[in-house]
Amino acid sequence: MRAILKADVDLLWFGGIRTDVRAPGETNAEVGDKANDAIHITGPEVRAKVIGEGANLGVTQRGRVAYALNGGRINTDAIDNSAGVNSSDLEVNIKIALGALVRAGTMSIEARNAFLVEMTDEVAELCLKNNYLQSLTLSLSERRGVSEFPDHVALMQLLEGEGHLDRAVELLPDDAALAERAAAGKALTRPEIAVLLAYAKNVVNTELVNSSVPDDPYLSKELFRDRPCWRRTTGRPSRRTGCAAR
């Protein structure tokens, strides 16, 4: 197992839940995957050029950062395998919205099922598009490197100030560590930017939903772009799910 983890290959791909890679300073207890204590290696010991996280928890966050600071290409599990949770989230919300139509007798359960089958490809495309764009966002941020570093720091401080983010919990660098990075001419790594991305998206999404944006005739077209069932159902759109419910 350790030989596989240390193999000199292009891509190391995690397909099932287990933790194999930690940071040099992390103890087995901190990693929390007792069954694999004997197998753990550290981020810098991974020789693969890229780590792909098809499954969750393959690498600790500190392990990711250590690997990335050492030149490895990695995102986070949430970024790499986002399509899974994205599709189940859409599935649940679409079913909730359609549930109202079925209970009201407007749509039969057979019609609802046929409708779900019909939209499968479209839902898949949306999930993959999100996955694609998130990865691209990280690449563009990474490319700007140190010139964007002050903006990331400002964003962290803003999110903390508003009570949305706890840097310690998310294992983001504290002010001393940030100063060290700046002094070394390094910026945030992809795994760290990924955490900021998630928080930024959540905060912006909440603000948008609570603003007048969904009611604006021009801007609400965006909801049609990203929600499959609006195109097919009629009635007043639900802000939260983007699906119509009568």
Binding site: R144, V146, F149, P150, Y218, L219
Partner: protein
């Protein structure tokens, strides 16, 4: 913010442009492809800010998008003839670099042009203020740009990298002031007379030939060397108030001493405004 973003994205048709770059997946160098996306992103963020500062959304987004989209299309169609030599060369060089990285020439050209095309928003604003067609406003705009040697600033000003937040705000302000001055001068030229742009330019110039020639020289001297926030600020001051040569000298001395010059207010104030 969402409104400004939507207008910027749709006026410049960036969704289609992004899709064209997406289509190059695995068919061109990854790092060059990212460079293409980065140019679009720069335009996107720059123009979102531009619309936030310079436009009013109370009349709804559709009329805004339509007016700006038409203006951008007019400018793009004429870009080959409009661009002053410095900018034209800079765009060509950048496009060649993209082609080297595997981009097809048409896409490379479209992306390389964006740094110049973004000036179309200013052109649309000027056209409205001076009550002329976008095409004429565009011609006047680029003529003034070339006359005052501002091409280097529009191409390179945004590339200055500063790590201190307040330095960055000062740079942003200096550039915004320069672009406002550029717009105001263009409007002044258009409103100076009738006839072709060249005719109006002559009338405008002859009104205050000595002051204008002196300012052209001073701005050129300022922008020929390293582009710094101080130089850009002084250049903006000169263009916004061409009569105030003495004021500019005081400004330069104050900045040298690390003081805020009189009348320039607090760097962190947000009184952007436009003269129009």
């Amino acid at each position: 913010m969402a409104a400004a973003y939507a207008v910027a994205r749709d006026a410049y048709e960036l969704t289609a442009l992004n899709a064209a770059i997406d289509a190059m997946d695995a068919r061109m160098s990854g790092s060059t492809q990212l460079a293409l996306y980065a140019e679009v992103q720069t335009l996107m963020t720059g123009q979102t800010l531009w619309f936030l500062r310079n436009e009013d959304f109370t009349g709804g987004l559709t009329p805004l998008v339509e007016r700006y989209r038409a203006g951008v299309a007019e400018v793009r169609a004429r870009l080959d003839t409009l661009l002053p030599p410095f900018i034209a060369r800079s765009v060509s060089d950048q496009a060649a670099g993209f082609v080297n990285g595997g981009a097809d020439p048409a896409l490379a050209r479209r992306i390389a042009e964006l740094s110049a095309l973004r000036l179309a928003s200013d052109v649309v604003l000027v056209a409205q203020k001076a009550n002329v067609e976008a095409a004429m406003a565009a011609e006047a705009y680029f003529t003034v740009l070339e006359r005052f040697n501002l091409g280097r600033i529009t191409e390179q000003g945004g590339l200055i990298v500063l790590s201190d937040r307040f330095d960055r705000m000062a740079l942003d302000r200096a550039l915004a002031n320069l672009m406002r001055a550029q717009r105001d001068l263009t409007a002044d030229v258009l409103m100076a007379g009738a006839g072709s742009v060249a005719e109006r330019m002559t009338v405008w110039h002859d009104l205050r030939a000595a002051a204008i020639d002196r300012n052209v020289k001073m701005v050129a001297d300022l922008t020929e060397g390293d582009l710094t926030v101080s130089r850009l600020s002084v250049a903006a001051g000169l263009l916004l108030d061409p009569g105030d040569v003495a004021g500019s000298v005081i400004t330069l001395s104050c900045k040298g001493a690390g003081l805020v010059p009189p009348g320039q207010g607090n760097l962190v104030s947000d009184g952007w405004g436009t003269r129009s």
